[in-house]
């Protein structure tokens, strides 16, 4: 029997949810507001909220100084590319772990996760030397490879959890009807796991988009994504907060829009999936 929810309780939870939402959203709102201020207004004390002379000059300056669309294009290629490669590897891996687990499956899953525990800087030099040896420094292939590898444990874990929810009986029924392994994964498992795969894809794109250690250290010009674009506006000697905010707004806008349109899948994936 469902629990009765009184209107008062509902209102209370709604207000609470809005407050939490606004607190979480506040830094982004502040960045967006600051991007429309002059440098002098940006550091005003007490802070100026909405009533100032709104200006778009920071966006003009940023666009003049940096080729935003080149950075944006690189971000799209790296995040979508690494997610696509990751999914291609992770779907069969998660399938085998979920439906034909071996004695060591749990250990392998834990081991995969343990690779996330190593501080990235610990392997910076070996990776740079390998990149140099392969002559792939500042290339899409290198970055897609590295981003795939660092996010693969999360993709496999998420997909594994979704696949575990699918009743084995359905797959067995398909096998009884003569489905091969390939058609079982392609036509039975994947369609049923679409919401899970979609949220995994979305989350992975966001993680790859925001990754700011490897993308800063393994690129110079050709493959440099938006993280490098933002880093070029931070200055220890000079107050350029308004320009930095404009650059940040431009960098997060695409992923914010993507997140807005796909929030249903994201929420469903996150609440029903790996972190339920």
């Amino acid at each position: 029997m469902a629990r009765a929810v009184t209107p008062q309780k509902k209102a209370l939870w709604t207000v609470l949810a809005w407050i939490v939402g606004l607190i979480i959203f506040f830094p982004i709102l502040w960045i967006i507001l600051t991007s429309f201020k002059t440098e002098a207004t940006a550091i005003a004390d007490p802070p100026v909220w909405f009533f100032f002379d709104w200006t778009t000059e920071n966006y003009g300056i940023v666009q003049d100084r940096s080729d935003y669309f080149r950075f944006l294009w690189n971000s799209v290629i790296l995040s979508v590319g690494s997610t696509a490669v990751g999914i291609l590897i992770a779907v069969p891996a998660a399938w085998s772990m979920a439906f034909v687990p071996g004695r060591r499956t749990k250990d392998i899953l834990m081991w995969m996760l343990s690779t996330k525990m190593l501080p990235a800087v610990g392997v910076l030099f070996p990776i740079v030397l390998i990149a140099k040896w392969l002559n792939m420094y500042d290339s899409y292939i290198l970055l897609i490879g590295v981003l795939t590898l660092i996010n693969l444990p999360i993709i496999v874990w998420m997909l594994y959890t979704y696949f575990k929810e699918i009743p084995v009986d359905i797959l067995e029924a398909a096998r009884m009807d003569g489905a091969t392994l390939r058609s079982e994964i392609l036509y039975i498992l994947t369609p049923m796991a679409i919401p899970g795969i979609a949220s995994t894809v979305l989350l992975n794109i966001i993680l790859a988009w925001n990754e700011a250690f490897w993308t800063l250290n393994l690129t110079t010009v050709s493959a440099a994504p938006l993280t490098k674009f933002i880093a070029s506006y931070s200055s220890p000697e000079g107050l350029f907060f308004a320009k930095l905010s404009a650059a940040s707004t431009m960098a997060i806008a695409p992923i914010l829009i993507l997140g807005w349109f796909s929030q249903k899948q994201l929420v469903r994936g996150l609440t029903f999936g790996a972190v339920k």
Binding site: V128, L216, S232, Y233, S235, P236, E237, L239
Partner: protein, 438 residues
């Protein structure tokens, strides 16, 4: 026969010209920091490409710490990603000694005059007589103060104040109710943050990082005097939350009229006197960094310089670019495009002999005097085994300096006493230096 010789000579000359042209072409990738002067240079590169149409410039602008990590990784692995790098006075002696940089003694443009570089700056960029980097802009530190508040307090700032005067003035100018604090100084932890200031201040108090046998000196009376004076000054007359304040935070406070005095980089002078951003632009005065009568002032010396990593495969084109960016011609270019006040300061003697510059930049003479007052090879009152005014030019310093900076920042935040911070600094430095084999 003569015709044949002539033909051969002509062919050789053509080959030579061809080789020179071939040498000055290609793509030069430049790693730089996001400072006002660097951004201005980026905007003026059309002038360079008009002179060298076969050279393409690629800019990689990064935040200082990201740049340092990026460039260090590249240079240490021989990555060869960059042809020109922007580095500071701390890196040049270490990297030059490691043969990581290309010598600039030869191959620069003919009109690029190295003898015009300010001796104090050139000294910091030279290793064993070889110049490894060309200064783009140089800076020291000095006192910036509010002339109106000083007048209200009934005091007059001397050109070369003592620390005691600074304390007296800070006390007189502080008005907490009006949110005006007598003095703003760096408190944020970091070897290039609070330790840059405190190391330079320590020099004027007779303190030093190491004795001649590389023994840490934080247990000395001179360091106790330095830290106690700093904490007393900041606790009584500094702004709240000063332990989090670096250059930018203090710049914002000063521009909003909340600091009576601010001792920091000379490059700040152009910001605080700019009426677009600063509310106190018309009432700022300058003075040399304070001293205690011991023969050393509390000012530092820094230069952002351009160098060529030895892994670059485009050295000739890189030298052509550095000659353009750090030559006298560039100074004149900036002056004609954006006015003399925006010329990168602190690198060339000729700039400080230029009447137009001296008239346009009220802080020019004080900047020059501050730079000349710093001696990187003999920074402290007592002899030291290292070079560097506000740093120690050894690879281990960045790590040690930041850890010691955390102790001093914690003392400023009231989390430990000055004695505890100094004891901790002594222990950290001794341990790290022993581990490094000193």
């Amino acid at each position: 026969m003569t015709t044949t010789i002539r033909a051969l000579l002509g062919a050789s000359a053509l080959c030579a010209v061809g080789t020179l042209a071939a040498a000055q072409e290609g793509t030069v990738t430049i790693a730089t920091v996001n400072n006002g002067d660097m951004i201005r240079m980026q905007g003026l590169t059309d002038d360079f490409t008009a002179q060298y149409p076969d050279i393409t410039l690629e800019w990689v602008t990064l935040e200082e710490n990201v740049l340092r990590q990026n460039v260090t990784t590249d240079i240490a692995t021989g990555g060869g990603q960059y042809d020109v790098i922007t580095i500071g006075t701390y890196e040049v002696p270490i990297w030059g000694a490691n043969d990581w940089l290309v010598s600039l003694d030869e191959g620069m443009a003919e009109d690029w005059n190295s003898s015009d570089i300010l001796p104090a700056i050139a000294g910091g960029l030279t290793v064993d007589g070889t110049l490894y980097a060309a200064p783009f802009y140089g800076e020291s530190s000095m006192v910036m103060y509010r002339t109106d508040l000083m007048e209200q307090a009934g005091l007059e700032m001397p050109d070369a104040p003592t620390w005691d005067f600074i304390r007296q003035a800070a006390e007189a100018m502080t008005d907490e109710e009006a949110e005006i604090y007598g003095i703003c100084l760096r408190g944020k932890a970091g070897w290039g943050e609070n330790m840059a200031f405190l190391t330079a201040m320590g020099n004027s108090f007779g303190a030093r990082w190491f004795d001649e046998d590389w023994n840490a000196q934080f247990d000395s009376e001179a360091w106790a005097n330095t830290l106690n004076f700093y904490l007393d000054l900041m606790t009584n007359y500094g702004p709240p939350g000063a332990a989090n304040n670096g250059f930018n935070e203090n710049l914002a406070l000063f521009q909003q009229g909340k600091c009576g005095m601010w001792i920091d980089a000379t490059v700040a002078a152009s910001f605080v006197t700019n009426p677009t951003d600063s509310t106190v632009a018309d009432s700022v005065g300058f003075a040399l960094a304070p001293d205690n009568g011991l023969g050393k002032r509390g000012n530092w010396l820094w230069a952002w310089s351009l160098a060529i990593p030895s892994s670059s495969d485009n050295v000739d084109a890189a030298k052509a670019f550095i000659s353009w960016a750090t030559g006298q011609g560039y100074t004149e270019l900036v002056a004609s495009e954006e006015g003399w006040a925006n010329v990168p300061p602190g690198t060339r003697t000729s700039l400080y002999e230029n009447e137009e510059y001296l008239a346009a930049a009220p802080f020019a003479q004080m900047t020059l005097d501050s730079i000349n007052a710093a001696d990187p090879t003999n920074p402290a009152v007592d002899p030291v085994p290292y070079t560097g005014v506000q740093f120690v030019a050894i690879p281990e310093f960045a790590g040690i300096g930041t850890q010691v900076g955390q102790q001093f920042s914690a003392a400023l935040a009231g989390q430990m006493t000055a004695e505890e911070a100094l004891a901790s600094a002594q222990e950290i430095t001794t341990d790290e230096m022993e581990a490094a084999g000193y």
